[in-house]
Amino acid sequence: MVSSQDSTIFEFVSTGTKGNIDKLIQFQETDNPLIINLAFGDKKTSDKRGQPNIEIDDFAVSKNGDRDLILSTVAWSVYEYTQSHTEKWIFFAGTTPVKTRLYRMAISKYYQELSKDFHIFGLVIVDGETIKTPFDSSTQFDGFIVKRK
């Protein structure tokens, strides 16, 4: 895995049944200075006017057979980013309810390990308001937010 110097962008390769797929992770500043959005997707390069250009396939479902490894790699990037940004809350949500559920399942599976290093909350939208609530494996969350301990 490679990283930008400020640890806000990470790049790695998914190797699986469909070959090698370049993946990008970005920790993005949001409208709330305390909250960082975690985003990742497939990297595609195109050539616009003779110049290489990175484009992201935000909604790609690569199905390269290494889903758990990808999620693990993304989790490691959160460890890396929060090491130098301990005051930040990291927000993430799937682009579809299916993906959000996938993240819930992954957090549930490794909650005991992850909770040693992170405060982990689920987010639910109630009457137009986003509410932070302690994570549990059975609630259908709309997103998640974590903070390094």
Binding site: F10, D31, N37, A93, L114, T130
Partner: protein
Amino acid sequence: MNSLKKNLPGAKEKNAPKIRIDKKLDAYSGKNLFPEKLENANKMIATLNLNK
């Protein structure tokens, strides 16, 4: 399962992926590579009270 546990954060440090700095990525640091995801994130956190 075993290979996954080896890669699990919080597992032994020696199993952490090696992270190398690539200055080429610095060119993209200030850019919004995921505009739709950021827009959705801002919508969701607009009403979020972190202190509650």
